[in-house]
Amino acid sequence: MRFRTELKNIRTFAKLTAALSSLEKIAWVRLSDDTVRFTVIPDMGSQVWASLAMDFLFEGYNIQSAEANNTINLELPLQPLQRALKSAQNSMSASLRLTKKDGLPILSMVITTMTGDKGTAGGASSNVAAAATRNSNSDDPFADDEDINLGPEHLETSLRREHEKVITQDIPVRVLHPETVETIMQPKVREPDVHIQLPPLLQLKAISDRFTKLALVPPGNKSPKLELSANMHGSLRLRINTETTDISSVWSGLENPELDPAQLDMPVDEHPSTRFREMGPEKWASVRVDGKDWSRVLSVGRLEGRVIACFADDHALILYVYVPHYDDASAEDSVVTYYVQSYSA
């Protein structure tokens, strides 16, 4: 079993890892010739299946496995990966290799970088970007106190010539047996009643979190439920309904994307969403979600992708996050699928 690669799109990889890591500590990673898939399945909460083209994250990769279809299945702790990728940001190069150390399998990330987060070429702008990243990660459980407490840089020392450094980050992993993997099944959900493009997630998250906090005010209600509804006429409604409050926010003018008939098992006319569209803007598909879990799901917003929500009324909510390929617009989009834990109304 062999896997080694150079890393690319490190910033996106780091953001994806951060998003996954907000839901669960350990991910199942399936590497194959053309696709890398990250799956997190928490005991409680939403599941994520992220399927990305290998050449989206990896460059010049080499994968060899005795398993069927040349796949490698790993259990990978996300927080160490996140930390390692943080070191790799703004690096000159970074590679990843599956190897063994003291008899235990590890993913060894070798990063060539200059001291700290300054690329000598990047200058001030990359510093600002790095600082912004750090701020946006302020809820990062890994943020060291050092990051915050450090005093101002001293000019006289920063004038020194920067030197190259080689950082090795060894992440513990566990290789999964194919039989173990077979038992992990992607959920099957019926065709959705409503599909709609979500408003900017940062906005949606801010309002959702506000609602959740309001519902937390009467003590005892540890896991308030938010009601999410959407119609086929461009509206999304977020509502919290407790003994003392009933608040809702409505977005309108959102897009209900056209279905691709080639992807459907049935004629578009018979699809549930067509029926919902015909029944007018008052026909909502609703699910209830756990406020805290929903907040963790929405942290995927940092990937800055287009998000399509698919509602199966009173049954399920699925989010498809299309991860943008900045450097290659023609490439097929990579999709991160969230099976949001939902409760019937």
């Binding site: 350990i26 259990e75 990978l76 702790p77 927080q79 160490p80 930390r83 390692a84 943080k86 070191s87 150390k101 003291d102 235990l104 590890i106 001291t115 700290g116 890994f142 060291d144 050092e146 990051d147 407490n149 450090l150 005093g151 840089e153 001293h154 006289e156 020392t157 920063s158 020194r160 030197h163 190259e164 450094k165 080689v166 950082i167 090795t168 980050q169 060894d170 992440i171 513990p172 992993v173 566990r174």
Partner: protein, 429 residues
């Protein structure tokens, strides 16, 4: 009457607070020592494996400084204070929200300190804080008169050294993840490697909970000055290293490290014209450094590698220390106790401790016994240590003492003798 009287400038308050915050990462108490021309804060951690010292010059931070030695304090005054209560005084309202504080002018402008002690006067450390908004607060702290313990470091015994910008080291620390406790500093050709790891063993099904293991290779060129033995591994506590680097980063100057062998102390020092900082940290013996680097460990150094200047005037404690070193490195050795038990070695270099030779040896032997409690054949080993004993030009009575110490050693707390040791620090140099 006040023995010590000084006024700290705004800058001085900050410098003192930074030093106290750093010291608080090592211990709960700080020893203050004032002389006519110097003001020193020191601490020794509870396991006696790390010692920190901050020496403030009388200029710059002090707008006024007067020491009036009387009675027992003619030469110098010393006392021990609880660090956290000191920090809370100097931190007054300047901590969290700097922006707002500036508006409210609750920044400390200066601080007058008077230390009173003597017959019929209660022992008090009195700090009068003057805030920029005109507010004044006065704090009276009780203190304990305790002789400060100073760890000594013999530079000539520690040939390996390097100097590097503190900022560079601080940036290295940013790459280390949580959950690690040890840092291995070693050289490999043109590079110096900083490798962090955890010695905690994890069960089979918890392998994924192992911390991220980070290794950073730094070009030797990046050091201002470097002279170290290739392949030599020095292992210290990450927590101590972090505390030191963090403070060194505030001063923004170069930091220099000096060391000899594993299980001997490493010295970190840095400073500016107004403050000089020194840290002595015990390094972990090689057999304790587990896991990945064990096979790369250098072989036990041959006898000639030990400090070559074992001259006749060498004090007995040091002689026994070098024997101790050889003992630690013996390959058949079972895993010795954690680094903290080796800590006494921090002190063996102080030649003025010669009179305490017997205690010193008792301690060493107590340690030997500790090491061997898990051995299958302790009797033979005890014989060996007895033979070492008799090889010393020590009176028989002492040998017996030492032997009985051997027998009781299981009950001995490893740090028990420190109280006796402290008395000796009265007469350094």
């Amino acid at each position: 009457m006040a023995i010590l009287n000084f006024t700290l400038s705004e800058e001085g308050v900050t410098a003192l607070r930074d030093a106290l915050i750093c010291l608080s990462k090592f211990s709960d108490d700080v020893s203050l020592e004032a002389r006519k021309d110097s003001f020193t804060l020191t601490t020794l951690n509870v396991t006696k494996s790390a010692y920190a010292s901050f020496k403030f010059g009388p200029g710059k931070f002090f707008s006024r400084y007067s020491f009036q030695g009387t009675g027992p304090y003619r030469e110098k005054f010393y006392c021990t204070l609880f660090i956290r209560s000191l920090i809370s005084i100097f931190r007054s309202r300047t901590s969290v929200d700097t922006q707002r504080d500036v508006e409210r002018h609750t920044v400390i402008e200066k601080c007058d300190v008077a230390v009173e002690d003597g017959e019929g006067i209660s022992s008090r450390f009195i700090a009068r804080i003057v805030f920029r908004n005109g507010l004044t607060s006065t704090h009276r702290l009780p203190f304990e008169v305790a002789v400060p313990v100073h760890a000594k470091f013999n530079k000539s015994d520690s040939p390996h050294h390097w100097v590097i910008a503190s900022r560079t080291l601080r940036q290295l620390m940013d790459h280390f993840g949580p959950g690690i406790d040890l840092l291995d500093i070693n050289t490999d050709g043109d590079h110096v490697n900083f490798t962090c790891f955890s010695e905690k063993t994890v069960s089979e099904d918890a392998v994924l909970k192992k911390p991220l293991q980070t290794s950073i290779a730094v070009e030797a060129d990046e050091f201002d000055d470097i002279d170290v033995e290739d392949k030599l591994h020095i292992v210290i506590s990450v927590k101590d290293f972090r505390a030191i680097i963090q403070h060194a980063g505030i001063t923004g100057n170069v930091i220099s490290a000096r060391y000899s062998l594993p299980a001997r102390p490493i010295q970190f020092s840095y400073g500016s014209e107004a403050i000089s900082c020194e840290f002595l940290v015990m390094t972990v013996a090689p057999s304790e450094a587990p896991g990945q680097d064990a096979q790369q460990m250098p072989p036990p150094p041959p006898a000639s590698r030990r400090p070559p200047n074992l001259t006749p005037q060498m004090s007995a404690p040091r002689a026994s220390a070098s024997r101790l070193g050889a003992f630690d490195l013996r390959p058949t050795q079972q895993a010795p106790p954690p680094a903290t038990h080796n800590s006494e070695s921090l002190f063996v270099d102080e030649e003025s401790w010669e009179p305490m030779r017997d205690e010193e040896e008792e301690e060493d032997n107590a340690r030997l016994e500790w090491d061997h409690s898990a051995e299958t054949n302790p009797a033979e080993l005890r014989m060996k240590s007895m033979m070492h004993q008799t090889a010393q030009p020590a009176p028989d009575a002492n040998t017996e003492d030492a032997a009985s110490a051997n027998l009781e050693s299981q009950a001995l707390e490893p740090t028990q003798n420190m109280s006796e040791v402290q008395n000796l620090a009265l007469f350094p140099d």
